[in-house]
């Protein structure tokens, strides 16, 4: 194990190196670029025995990865923002074919207005693509998830492509201390890829990415959905096994901080979680019963674990670095649906922030908790139409530079 001071992008590249993909096909885009630069350097210096394909677009990056995966080899690609959307049609293609491709996505805003900074609009577009989606908090988790991603994706029960999301710049370009495991440790954890059922091989020739008409199509899709939901248990097992081997784990699909007795809980994804940890700790020290829930996976969505963790809360706040135009934050919609399924009756607030790389300050998060605490003390039910609770009142835009 080596302790090094590296950026999030470097950590991803190190994780990929340790996972030993057979082929890397990627197209550079800010703020992912350093990942592909490092990987091509590793291939050049021989520290990674992979084929590096200089594809001419993101669309071809994923298409080539599909070709690689279709014969049972391990594929890696990386992208961001417009690049992710450019390869969009290939995402359900790969997931329908149950190809365990791993992709790093540097979360970045979408045009227009043009913007290269971090928010989560890009990957939210892809929630329905059939890919597993994890959001990491720091560079260490980024590295570790590259390794876990292959182990989960290639599990015979899962066989689903895997997207590891890092907040653009805030994670990709920030240097911090990362423990880099040895190749031997990783090899012991992540065995070579071994696919048989869904690949083309000389032993059992297959036709892939077939058509299935209205007579058969629906069953393929139901199977895909059911098995994606069931991948929750594999994700949990792999994370537990990782913790056992490497001494650090991530608590499966979500992590809770002081949620058991919390009256208000803030739900975060990705790097904002780190800042929220500081604020939550401060407020606890002041005697306020506040909790924090780090939602790591958005697909599969951890409905049960989430509602269980939130069940004692009276107010839940959901942080979204995205907007589904004409509605609300996408994670908010998902959390609400989960709560509704379990018949919960929490008050829910949606905090939309960080769009286009807008800073999310400790004060902003403090303000989120304050708003929730006010809700807690409001005797009226915010869901009651007679109270000032039109749907838009549940949405709070944070750190806006002018009046709404």
């Amino acid at each position: 194990m080596a302790r090094r001071f590296v950026s999030g992008n470097d950590a991803v590249a190190e994780g990929v190196r340790l996972a030993r993909p057979h082929v890397i096909s990627a197209y550079p885009i800010t703020p992912q670029t350093i990942v592909v630069e490092r990987l091509s350097e590793f291939v050049e210096d021989g520290s990674l025995q992979s084929i590096y394909m200089h594809v001419e677009s993101e669309h071809s990056a994923l298409a080539a990865a599909m070709g690689v995966s279709s014969v049972g080899a391990r594929a890696f690609t990386a992208t961001s923002s417009q690049g992710l959307l450019y390869m969009a049609e290939n995402l359900p293609y790969a997931s329908g074919a149950r190809m365990p491709i791993v992709m790093m996505n540097a979360n970045r805003a979408l045009a227009t207005p043009w913007n290269i900074y971090g928010d989560q609009m890009d990957s939210m577009f892809m929630l329905n693509s059939g890919w597993i989606q994890v959001y990491v908090e720091d560079a260490q988790e980024a590295l570790d998830m590259m390794i876990q991603a292959y182990k989960i994706a290639e599990d015979p029960k899962v066989l689903t492509p895997f997207m590891v999301n890092l907040d653009g710049f805030v994670l990709t370009h920030t240097y911090e201390v990362v423990d880099i495991p040895t190749q031997e440790e990783v090899d012991a954890f992540l065995p070579p890829i071994n696919l048989s059922e869904n690949i083309m091989s000389m032993e059992a020739p297959k036709s892939l990415c077939i058509t299935a008409g209205n007579n058969y199509n629906m069953e393929f899709k139901i199977k895909q959905n059911e098995e994606m939901i069931e991948s929750i248990s594999v994700i949990e097992q792999v994370d537990a096994a990782f913790e056992k081997q490497f001494g650090r784990g991530y608590n499966g699909l979500l992590e809770t901080v002081d949620c058991e007795d919390a009256d208000v809980i803030l739900v975060t994804t990705g790097s904002i979680t780190g800042t929220a940890r500081m604020v939550q700790k401060t407020l606890r020290a002041e005697g306020k019963k506040v909790g924090l829930l780090k939602l790591r996976y958005l697909r599969p969505f951890p409905t049960k674990a989430l509602t269980e963790a939130l069940k004692n809360a009276k107010v839940v706040g959901v942080v979204d670095k995205n907007i589904s135009f004409g509605y609300e934050g996408t994670i908010f919609t998902n959390v609400n649906s989960a709560l509704m399924q379990e018949g919960a009756s929490q008050k829910v607030d949606n905090f939309i922030c960080g769009l286009g790389g807008r800073d999310v300050t400790k004060e902003n998060i403090h303000e989120m908790y304050e708003k929730m605490l006010v809700h807690l003390e409001t005797s009226a039910d915010v869901n009651d139409a007679n109270v000032a609770s039109k749907p838009q009142d549940r949405i709070h835009y944070m750190n806006v530079r002018c009046a709404l």
Binding site: G96, A97, R98, M99, L159, E197, N198, A204, P205, K206, S207, L208, C209, I210, A212, Y216, E219, F220, I222, K223, E226
Partner: protein, 101 residues
Amino acid sequence: MNRPKMVNFKDPETVRDYPMGATCDSDHLTSINAGWRTFRPVIDQEKCIKCMRCFLVCPDGVIDKSGDQLEIDYDFCKGCGVCAHECKPKAINMVKEAING
């Protein structure tokens, strides 16, 4: 006749029995094309000079040349008539399909 054979395919019983991914075994024929024909090509073996032109030009590959005579796989012949059109000695006749014939 040395041509791919139909497989005996049974619908998956449960969703779980569906293939993993959008996959299927190759060489997996479950329905024939005989019903596409209005005319069927019939080889006049007397006139046939075994030039193999029909074998070469058949878009469906239904003409088998492995035996003593050229043979047509009527399960998969669509009756397009390319073979008869291309046959120099005019040894292939397009004959109207009759019901039950």
